[in-house]
């Protein structure tokens, strides 16, 4: 008997719009954290990831895509990264499995697929709106596509990254339990910035 459970999205609201700026929940994908073990050596982990995914794990707050474009590696701290893909969480041959095979001996791998929710804010006012809540410099010469910041949006811890310049698009990775509150706060900020 094959049963299954229905996945409930972390935010109940539909996308909201103010002017041409849109706030929406991004589709749920797979997320895995990588925590580098000291003993095995960081260089070994980088090499292994490079071998498998064709990309260097970023050493700075950046997000980089794998050579095939299927996986994004996001810097999460001096020894930690988050690998993101659009695949189905926990699936065979999925991200976690690939990572286990590639570097499971060199780092702690932990599923974060359900831990993190992604809210996407996009449009001409996105920078202005994000700046209402996020206390880091989002000027386009300072914070570019691929840049990442672990910070606070109001009171809520987030990982913000810019994913596109035209129109300006940010993704907020937020702990699932905070997602409704962050959605609300961003919505209020959108209305305020556009009035």
């Amino acid at each position: 008997m094959v049963e299954s459970l229905l996945a409930l999205p972390p935010v109940s609201a539909d996308p909201v719009r103010a002017g041409d700026t849109v706030l929406a929940l991004a589709p749920m994908g797979e997320a895995v954290s990588l925590g580098a073990f000291a003993g095995a050596g960081r260089a070994a982990l980088l090499a292994r990831v490079r071998e498998t995914f064709g990309v260097d794990l970023p050493e700075q707050p950046r997000a980089v895509a794998s050579a095939d474009g299927q996986v994004t590696f996001v810097w999460c701290g001096p020894t930690q990264w988050l690998a993101l893909s659009l695949g189905e969480s926990g699936a065979e041959g999925g991200l976690l499995a690939r990572l286990r095979a590639a570097c499971g001996d060199l780092c702690a791998l932990t599923s974060q697929s359900d831990s993190r929710t992604t809210l996407r804010l996009s449009g001409p006012q996105a920078r202005e709106v994000a700046g209402r809540l996020v206390p880091v410099d989002l000027h386009d010469a300072v914070f570019e596509p691929g840049h990442v910041a672990l910070t606070l949006a109001g009171h809520i811890p987030v990982l913000i990254r810019q994913v596109a310049r035209n129109p300006v698009t940010y993704e907020f990775l937020v702990f699932r339990s905070f997602a409704e509150s962050l959605f609300h706060d961003l919505h209020v900020a959108m209305n305020g910035a556009l009035s």
Partner: protein, 1009 residues
């Protein structure tokens, strides 16, 4: 009184005092407003003050203490007198300065701090007793009889206290916060600020120009000055346009930079919608900016000083610069016949502007001796009598000026009729932003001004704020500051071309008061601090009583503590004190000016996080489902958790909770326990790490098993507890209490990164990853069997108490199963990826229905943990030890761990410490209350008999009795004893037996079932 009445009466209708010009108003359009219920009109660009003056309204407010009639003193935010209640209802805004309130259609303002009316104020008679009510009088009396202070005197004082009234309802408007970053922040858009912004902006630097006014230009709009042979304000507009065209320059009008904070952070308030009848939908009323700037140029200008003389607070006495502002910017003549009183050449310009506007200048009174300054010249140009070396000794008129007495250089008294007295004691640079970090200004004798000395890192001062007073000089000075600031940020900058400015004289001779030779009785009407009614006499009295430190003077007399923060009074006060105590002004010192530079609405500092959104709400994965079940929620830190699930027919919460407990104990129930902190711990040294953070042993924990762990703080007291399961040789998952989840994570990181960097281990929170649901009760296994996929053996042998492992559920969903029990029943915690939590709850309801399953909330959870004697938050309160909690034996003696050494201190190992016990009332119906104290039975209700307290209490439906957990001195030795539970707050005493804290199934048979 009659003067004011008449002028008001005449005023309604045509604004009689409008004159030509007015570069800041749109004279072609009219807006209507009311003041004290009377209708008036003004123009867009007017302030409430300028519009009232245009109608000849003189009387604008009452002072704080003596309720003296007060007019409009200034044309800016330094205004101490003309404070009004703006708007009505929930938007009522007390103490709004009429001089900065922008006019909008339908504006409604009312005078404040008067009764029954502004023109006739009963408390005006306070002034008659000014010699009794002098500085600090209240410290000397109201002491007898002692009870009268609170019953009689203070209520009377409080009735008279305060200025305007706060709204009676919640503020309906929204507020917002934002952070901005720039290379160069320019504060102020007068000549220096504009030049600075232009120089810095053209270099390509990111520049923010903040102007608190609605228009850029500063004094350029207030003066009749020319730049490049055109009105100076036109140059300001050109520069504004040029700045606007620069992509990296942001002009923020109506934005006041109010504070300098550490690390180049500046607080600024943007008044987004205060000039509108009300904010548009979604629009915030105000916005708080935190501006992070590498360089800051303070070009905030200067504030003109009044002169201290008898009657200087009479309506119609106005700062000379303000008179020019009203003439030039607003096209309003604040009088018809004016006397100008000055000690400096800048003040003299007022006479020229007045004459140009057709106001007759009755006299020019210059404190400087003949030949000093340009007075004679100016007087000739205005056709006015010139009195050098003279002083104003008295002002005629009570509700409005009708004339002045002048003592000329020869000592002769002359009288001049007038309805306006323009005074200038010179200008005080606006240096507040330079002092917020504790830097003290120094006094410059030549400029008669306090100037900034040391500056916060990255800050420079330019223009009048730096004591550079002429327009041409300020332009140059500002441009240089802009160049230097841009260069400091690594930009190539050059000085922009500056406009030609006519030469102007700013010569000044010190003049702070005109009291020499005036009988000291009249000093009582010579005001230093207008709003707080501090007179020259009060300063003298304070000095006589020894309050000669400037800080003492301020605190004793309340000088400088009014809503204007002493902008117009501080320097005069210091000068007076210096003279009285025979010290130089520089030696006398200055008080530190505290932020904010302008008062800031509390709502703006709070921002959007209000009401239900005061703090974010964390929602567990089953939240929506629980809502659909009609659950009642409670806040547990930031989490919203289901407290209980009422069913139709249940009339109170206790009935519901009893039913939920009985369901678990008799059948099966489930509860979302996702909120417990979950930390994934992996690495070769994970086991060693756990050994060091927990008091008990971990290395021998088999894979697939969980263990209860207790952590101490380094000071030896209990910190947190939870179960930790071993998933593989190097992989553990730790649970923490809900309350300490974040703290434990930080603690682990601290231990790892700082104490034991040699340990190879990684942590990540998985609290949100897993929807963790406790399934508890005799039927728990049976129900789980319907959920957990058949390949997994759930039998007691295969999956015993404290087993842990990875399973799949509902046909392949990855899950973790832990056989843990908080309730004491056969119980499991099943964790599925959070997205499936909602569906899992629904599934459990479905498959559990035949077994009588029901969800239970935190309340039933709490009841059952009390029945089982498990310590939780009330027991783990940071003041208890492992021993206190009955876990002393867990402390390993074979290893080092956090807190081990300090836990051995004598006071922590004293057996007399209150220790965990159970409490069962002799009468089961007697309610046990958490917080009651434990006293020996029959002992007097005094602290000396106090031996502990009830930490947790609940009604146990299992026992049919109220029960409690408590911490009782020598507790474990006293099982069987009867103690008294004293709750004097409620007036109750309950007798209870001391028992084991484990009330239900003490042998623990059920969990193993």
């Amino acid at each position: 009184m009659t003067d004011a009445h008449m002028s008001s009466a005449l005023a309604t209708g045509v604004p009689q005092h409008r004159v030509a010009g007015g570069n800041g108003i749109d004279a072609g359009r009219t807006v209507r407003f009311t003041f004290d219920g009377r209708q008036y009109t003004g123009h867009p660009g007017d302030t409430l003050a300028s519009a009232l003056l245009a109608h000849g309204v003189r009387l604008a407010g009452r002072s704080f203490k003596y309720h003296r009639p007060r007019g409009i003193l200034s044309a800016g935010p330094e205004e101490p007198n003309a404070l009004v209640e703006l708007r009505t209802g929930p938007r009522r805004e007390p103490n709004t300065r009429a001089t900065v309130a922008e006019l909008y259609e339908g504006l409604s303002a009312a005078s404040q701090n008067r009764w029954p009316s502004l023109a006739f104020d009963a408390l005006g008679m306070n002034g008659l007793f000014s010699s009794v009510l002098g500085a600090g009088f209240y410290y000397k009396t109201f002491m007898w009889p002692a009870a009268f202070w609170e019953k009689v005197y203070e209520p009377l004082i409080r009735k008279a206290a305060g200025l305007g009234r706060a709204a009676d309802e919640a503020d309906p408007d929204q507020y917002e916060k934002a952070t901005a970053f720039c290379d160069v922040l320019v504060v102020g858009s007068g000549p220096a600020g504009l030049a600075a912004a232009l120089a810095a902006g053209r270099s390509g630097a990111r520049v923010i120009l903040c102007e608190e006014d609605s228009l850029t230009g500063g004094r350029l709009r207030a003066e009749s000055r020319q730049l490049d042979a055109a009105p100076a304000w036109r140059w300001a507009e050109q520069v504004r346009a040029a700045l606007e065209a620069l992509p990296e320059v942001r002009i923020m009008e109506r934005t006041c930079v109010f504070g300098t904070y550490d690390g180049g952070t500046y607080g600024a308030l943007e008044r987004v919608a205060d000039h509108l009848p009300q904010p548009a939908k979604g629009q915030p009323r105000q916005r708080l900016w935190r501006i992070v700037a590498r360089q800051c140029i303070v070009a905030a200008g200067a504030v003109e000083r009044p002169i201290v003389f008898s009657g200087n607070d009479t309506p119609g006495v106005m700062l000379a610069g303000a008179v020019r502002t009203y003439l030039n910017r607003f096209g309003v003549a604040p009088g018809r016949r004016a006397v100008v009183y000055t000690c400096n050449d800048d003040g003299l310009r007022t006479a020229l502007d007045l004459a140009r506007a057709g106001v007759s200048v009755a006299a020019i009174v210059d404190s400087r001796p003949e030949g000093e300054g340009q007075g004679a010249q100016v007087a000739r140009a205005c056709g006015a009598p010139f009195l050098p070396g003279a002083a104003i000794t008295a002002v005629k008129g009570r509700m409005a000026v009708s004339g002045v007495s002048v003592r000329d250089a020869q000592g002769r008294e002359q009288r001049f009729a007038c309805d306006l007295l323009a005074m200038s004691g010179g200008w005080s640079p606006n240096i507040a932003l330079t002092t917020h970090q504790g830097m003290r200004p120094v006094y410059d004798e030549a400029l008669c001004a306090f100037l900034p000395a040391a500056l916060p890192p990255g800050m420079v001062v330019a223009g009048a704020a730096a004591g550079v007073f002429g327009t041409a000089e300020a332009l140059r000075n500002g441009a240089q500051a802009g160049v230097r600031a841009a260069q400091a940020c690594g930009f190539e900058a050059e000085q922009p071309a500056l406009p030609d400015a006519e030469p102007e004289s700013c010569a000044i001779a010190p003049l702070f008061h005109a009291l020499a030779g005036v009988p000291s009785a009249r000093w009582a009407k010579a005001f230093v601090d207008f709003q707080n009614d501090v007179t020259a006499k009060d300063v003298a009295l304070a000095a006589r009583e020894g309050f000669v430190s400037v800080e003492h003077l301020k605190r004793y007399t309340t000088l400088g503590m009014a809503t204007d923060q002493g902008k117009t009074s501080n320097v005069n006060a210091i000068a007076l004190l210096a003279e009285i105590t025979q010290r130089a002004i520089g030696q006398t010192g200055t008080t530190l000016i505290r932020p904010p530079t302008q008062p800031v609405a509390i709502g703006a500092l709070a921002g959007a996080h209000r009401g239900q959104h005061f703090k974010p709400a964390r929602l567990p994965p089953t939240h929506q489902w629980a809502e659909s079940q009609g659950a009642v929620f409670t806040a547990n830190g930031l989490w919203q958790r289901a407290q209980w699930y009422p069913r139709p027919g249940e009339t109170d919460w206790l009935q519901t909770v009893n039913r939920e407990v009985r369901t678990v104990r008799g059948a099966v129930g489930f509860c979302d326990v996702t909120t417990l902190g979950k930390i994934d711990i992996q690495g070769p040294d994970a086991a060693e790490f756990l050994e060091r953070v927990y008091v008990n042993a971990w290395k021998k924990l088999p894979i697939g098993r969980a263990r209860y762990g207790l952590m101490l703080r380094e000071d030896g007291f209990a910190y947190d507890d939870g179960t930790t399961a071993r998933l593989s040789e190097t992989h553990y998952v730790m649970t923490t209490t809900t309350a300490n989840a974040g703290g434990v994570m930080a603690h682990l990181e601290f231990c790892h990164q700082w104490l034991w960097p040699e340990l190879d281990v990684q942590f990540i929170s998985v609290t949100d990853e897993w929807a963790q649901i406790a399934v508890a009760g005799p039927q728990a296994r049976t129900v789980l069997r319907h959920v957990v996929d058949p390949a997994f053996d759930l039998s007691n042998e295969a999956f015993p108490y404290m087993a842990a492992g990875e399973v799949t559920v509902c046909g392949g969903v990855a899950a973790r199963l832990f056989r843990l029990s908080f309730s004491g029943e056969l119980a499991y915690e099943l964790a599925v990826p959070a997205r499936y939590g909602d569906a899992l709850a629904r599934r459990l309801m479905e498959v559990g229905a035949p077994y009588g399953i029901a969800p239970y909330g935190t309340e039933a959870l709490g009841v059952m943990r009390i029945e089982k004697g498990h310590p939780a938050g009330p027991e783990l309160n940071g003041q208890t030890t492992a021993h206190d909690l009955g876990m002393g034996r867990m402390l390993s003696t074979r290893k080092d761990f956090i807190g081990r050494h300090m836990a051995q201190r004598v006071a922590l190992t004293d057996p007399a410490r209150p220790t965990l016990v159970g409490l069962q009332p002799l009468n089961p119906a007697d309610q046990v209350v958490a917080g009651a104290h434990l006293l020996p039975d029959g002992a007097p209700a005094t602290a000396a008999s106090d031996q502990g307290w009830v930490s947790s209490a609940a009604f146990s439906p299992t026992l049919g009795s109220w029960i409690g957990l408590g911490l009782l001195s020598n507790g474990p030795a006293r099982h069987g004893e009867i103690v008294a539970l004293h709750n004097p707050l409620a007036g109750t005493v309950v007798r209870a037996r001391v028992v084991s804290p484990v009330f239900v199934d003490p042998e623990g048979a059920r969990v193993h079932g």
